[in-house]
Amino acid sequence: MLKIKDLRVSYGGIEAVKGISLTVPEGSIVTLIGANGAGKSTTLRSICGLEKPQSGEISYFGENIAGQPTDVIVSKGITLVPEGRRVFPDLTVYENLKIGAYLRKDAEIAKDVDWVYDLFPRLKERSWQMAGTLSGGEQQMLAVGRALMSRPKLMMMDEPSLGLAPLIVQGIFDIIKEIHKQGVTILLIEQNANLALRAADYGYVLETGNITMEGTGSELLNDERVKAAYLGKKKK
């Protein structure tokens, strides 16, 4: 579905992504793990057109979308749940969901709002509240719900667990799996490697702009180097 080849992106004068290649097959959950500043966010941002890649190819269903404007990319079925949630604080919960469907002109938007409310009953209770008044976990639910409103084929998520209590993080991951079951392909980046690799079919380890390891979720979970660097377990 998504194939990245030799992607190079500069961000604020430094080369943050130094020629990475990765594949996201349709119907999978793929995760990118790595430390702060490894280039994870920059990779996602360039897939959805917020950063212009210097070189390389981002092929989506066979079409190179590298460097296209964000609204065109979003219209093709790619969405990003941004880091830090970024809900619109002065819009109500309902309006935040409506704006997620901004490019859609079909008649099923109301139906999809109900679908999101089924996934997150908490949002339904707070439908008319300003999004800025929600708790962190609720805002994350809203950010995910808003992304779903575009009926994405590929949903990218940038650190959905950031700053949330463990119990809520578990809830968010359950929802991610539920969304995946309903047929959405997921590209997830996380610092919480343990959680991400458990959920993922396939994972890539990103270090200072390069992919240093890859493998299925369980392969990486059992890899000694990954354990030492990201899972906080000592080598035996």
């Binding site: 959805c48 917020l50 964000t70 609204d71 219209s75 619109f88 901004y102």
Partner: protein, 293 residues
């Protein structure tokens, strides 16, 4: 001062305030979206004055008014495209300097094209019709201005709160990047802002100059500054704030003139600005700005 004179001055003040409010809305909307003080806005208003003079030479007023509004909108959007859009990612100071540049460019262009001599503003017979209520007499424009202002602003607020493009405007004013992720075309929303701001400036210009009777290339400078003050007074970024600010400044200015202190009427506006900035820098309706860390 007799009661009649008092009412008469009140009417003049409210009417002037209405015209100011329409221009102030343009400042506040552009600021809300781009965080830019569009210093050229006063000069767009002045150009609308000249457009009316030329339109009325060959067109009846009912046709001339929409023509002027459209021409002003084109000018406003063109300025955004040429002078602000290329600087979208530049530091905010650069785009502000560009706005000051456009302001002087328009003034000098007008001087070059139309000379600095005042040109007579055409009379729209309907607006000039005198109404007599008891001892009070005023032309229709005096009555129409505040009513039209309030109606336009209510329409605008409804549009922002209840339509899709309005929702997009609110989203873009908070977060460019996330708005883009929703598929919103930022440039369309920004153009829309300039379209509305310029159209309101054109209407304000017609109402304002009908009372003043002449236009010079510098006619936009002082009203422009005053309306900017009005927007700050109300809390820049807030549309109701800009309207209230416009009315306050219009009424205060007229009151001072009526009391015989016309020499100080302009200075007073800026004293008001200084006082406001000292005691409530966010303005009457302004939101508290919390810088995100």
């Amino acid at each position: 001062m007799s009661f009649t004179t008092f009412i008469q001055h009140c009417l003049t003040g409210i009417s002037l305030g209405g015209a100011y409010a329409l221009i102030a809305v343009g400042y506040t909307m552009v600021y809300g979206i781009l965080r830019l003080i569009n210093f050229a806005h006063g000069d767009i208003f002045m150009m609308a004055g000249y457009f009316m003079i030329f339109a009325m030479v060959s067109l009846p007023w009912a046709v001339a008014i929409p023509v002027v509004i459209i021409a002003t909108v084109i000018l406003g959007v063109a300025i955004e495209r040429v002078a602000y859009k290329p600087l979208r990612t530049a530091p905010r100071m650069s785009i502000m300097i560009s706005a000051i540049g456009v302001s002087y460019l328009l003034q000098n262009l007008a001087t070059y094209l139309f000379t600095a001599l005042p040109k007579a503003y055409p009379t729209i017979p309907l607006l000039k019709k005198i109404f007599q209520i008891g001892d009070i007499s005023a032309s229709l424009v005096t009555f129409i201005t505040p009513v039209l202002t309030i109606a336009l602003v209510i329409g605008l607020v409804m549009m922002i709160n209840h339509t899709k493009i309005g929702m997009a405007m609110r989203a873009v004013s908070k977060d460019f990047e996330t708005s883009q992720l929703m598929g919103i075309k930022i440039n369309t929303v920004i153009s829309m802002t300039f379209i509305i701001g310029s159209a309101l400036a054109a209407v304000g210009s017609i109402l304002y100059f009908t009372d003043r009777m002449s236009v010079t290339p510098f006619s936009g400078t002082l009203p422009g500054l005053k309306c900017f003050v009005a927007a700050v007074l109300g809390g820049i970024g807030s549309i109701p704030g800009a309207v209230v600010g416009g009315f306050i400044i219009g009424i205060c200015e007229t009151a001072l003139v009526a009391l015989g202190y016309s020499t100080f009427s302009d200075a007073f506006t800026f004293v008001l600005l200084i006082i406001m900035l000292l005691f409530k820098p966010t303005g009457l309706f302004g939101e508290k700005i919390i810088d995100k860390v």
